[in-house]
Amino acid sequence: MIQTISQYFQFPFVRYALVVGTLIALCSSLLGVTLVLKRFSFIGDGLSHVAFGAMAIAGVLRITNDMLFVMPVTILCAVLLLRTGRNAKIKGDAAVAMISVGALAIGYLLLNLFSTSSNLSGDVCSTLFGSTSILTLTQAEVWLCAVLSVLVVALFIFFYNRIFAVTFDEDFARAVGTRVEAYNLLIAVVIAVIIVLAMNLVGSLLISALIIFPALSAMRVFRSFLSVTVCSAALSVACALAGMLIAIVGGTPVGSTIVAVDILVFFVFCGIEQFR
C-alpha cells in the first residue's frame, strides 16, 4: 500500500491536492467553535448553497477561474444574511432558507438550460459532493487556495482574543467598547471565504460537516477555548489527510471519505468522553 501511495506522489497534482486539502481543512476548522456556539451554523449552511448557485452562474458565463466570481458573491451574501439575522422583523432563519434553497434551484436550472456538457448530472454531482475537484485544480487555483488559507489562519490568530470575546459574550464585549459589529462582519466574511475554499475539497453539500465535526469532537473532550481550537484544527487536518489518502488509494470520492473519517473521529471522542 505504501508503494501505491508513493507511486501516486509522483504526480504533482496529487501533491498539490494534499497540500491544499490540508490547508483548507486547517482553516475550515478554526471557526467551527464560533459557528456552533454563536448559532451561526445556519449561515454556514445557507452560504454553501449560495456558493453552489454562484458556481453554476460562473459555469454558464464561462468564467475560467470561477473562484474569482464565486468568492465575492458568497461574501456579499454573508454580509446580507448577517444583516437580516439581526433584524427581528424578517425572521433570520426564513431568510436563510429562502436564499439557500433559491440558490440551489436557480443554480440547477441554469446548468440545465445552458450547459453544453455531455455529462450534466456528473457535473452537478461533483459540484455538490466535490468528487474529484481537489485533484483537478489548475496551478493558479492551487496558489489562490494556498494564499487564502494562509490569510485566514493569520487573521484568526491575530484576532483570536477578539473572536473569543465576541463569541463568549457579545453584550459584555459591546458594553466595554469592543466593535462587535466589525468582528461579526469579519467572522461572516471569513466563513464565506472558508466555504468557497472548502467547496473544492468536499463540495458544497458537505461543507458544514467539514467545519463543524472537528469542533464538536474537540468540545467533547477539551475544556478550554484554546485547547478546543488547537485540537479541532489538528483533528481536521488529520482527518482530511487520512480521508484524501484513502480516497486516492481506494478510489472513493474525496469529500465524503473525509467527512466519513470526521464522523468516525466524532464517535471515538464521544467514547473517550464517556470513559473519563
Partner: protein, 238 residues
C-alpha cells in the same frame, strides 16, 4: 457633575416604549438598586445605559471623568455560556479586552490585572477549571472578576444573585458591599430581593408601570411604593 445622568429617558424595543420620561442620576460611590416586577423594564434600562440599544428619547450623560464604555458589566446569564468550553482564566482575561487597544494579544499588565481580580474574588485556585463545570455562585464570581478587569469605577449588574442559594447569596452581597465601601466602586444592580436592596443600597430606583420611584433608601422605605412592597409583601418577590 454626576457619574451618570439620565434625563427624560424613554426606552423600549423597536417602536414600543416600555417606560417614558424617566430621570435619575448616579453619583460616584453610590450603590443603586433597580427593583420592580418581572417585565417592568429593568434589564432594558440597563442595556440602554450601557449603550447596547439606543434610547427612544431623552439623554444619558456621563460625567465625573467617566468615559462611555468605562463600565464593568455583569449580564444576566445567557444560554450560550452554559455549554461554552472556556477556562476561568480565559474568561477573566477577556475582561481586559478594552485595554488592548490595537494590540492583538494580552500583555503583562493585563495578565497581572486579571490575576489580581481573580484573587480578590477568591477564585485563584479555580483558574484552570472549565467555566461550565463551576457552581452558580462560582460562575458569578468569575463574571464579577471579569467585570472588575474592565473598570474599577462603575459596575452594572443584572440580577447577580438570582439562582444562588441563601448562603452564597449572602456572600455575594458582602462581596459587592466590600467593593462599594472599601474600593469605592459605584454599583448599579438589578435585584428581585427588595429587603436586601433596602438594606445594602444607598439609592433605589423602583420601576413598575405608573409607579416609578427614585430616591435614597431611607426615602424609599417611607414612600407609598416602598411601604407596600417592602413591608406588606415581606420583600420577597419572585
Amino acid at each position: 457633575m454626576a457619574l451618570i445622568t439620565c434625563r427624560d429617558l424613554t426606552f423600549g424595543y423597536e417602536s414600543h416604549a416600555i417606560l417614558e420620561h424617566l430621570s435619575f442620576q448616579v453619583n460616584a460611590g453610590d450603590y443603586l438598586c433597580i427593583v420592580g416586577e418581572n417585565g417592568s423594564g429593568k434589564s432594558t434600562l440597563m442595556r440602554t445605559v450601557l449603550g447596547l440599544q439606543k434610547p427612544m428619547g431623552g439623554t444619558i450623560a456621563f460625567g465625573d471623568g467617566l468615559v462611555e464604555n468605562e463600565i464593568g458589566y455583569l449580564p444576566q446569564q445567557t444560554a450560550i455560556q452554559k455549554d461554552f468550553p472556556a477556562t476561568v482564566w480565559e474568561i477573566v482575561l477577556s475582561g481586559c479586552q478594552a485595554h488592548m487597544g490595537r494590540r492583538a494579544f494580552y500583555g503583562r499588565a493585563e495578565k497581572a490585572l486579571a490575576a489580581q481580580n481573580l484573587e480578590r474574588m477568591g477564585m485563584t485556585a479555580c483558574r484552570r477549571r472549565c467555566y461550565r463545570e463551576l457552581s452558580g455562585g462560582q460562575q458569578q464570581r468569575v463574571l464579577l472578576a471579569r467585570a472588575l478587569c474592565a473598570t474599577r469605577k462603575l459596575l452594572l449588574m443584572d440580577e447577580p444573585v438570582s439562582g444562588l442559594d441563601p448562603r452564597v447569596t449572602a456572600e455575594m452581597y458582602d462581596l459587592i458591599e466590600q467593593l462599594n465601601r472599601r474600593d469605592g466602586v459605584t454599583i448599579i444592580m438589578i435585584s428581585h430581593d427588595i429587603q436586601a436592596a433596602v438594606r445594602y443600597a444607598s439609592h433605589i430606583l423602583h420601576l413598575g408601570g405608573a409607579e416609578v420611584f427614585f430616591g435614597n433608601a431611607e426615602q424609599y422605605r417611607n414612600s407609598d411604593v416602598g411601604r407596600r412592597f417592602d413591608v406588606a409583601e415581606g420583600g420577597v418577590r419572585a
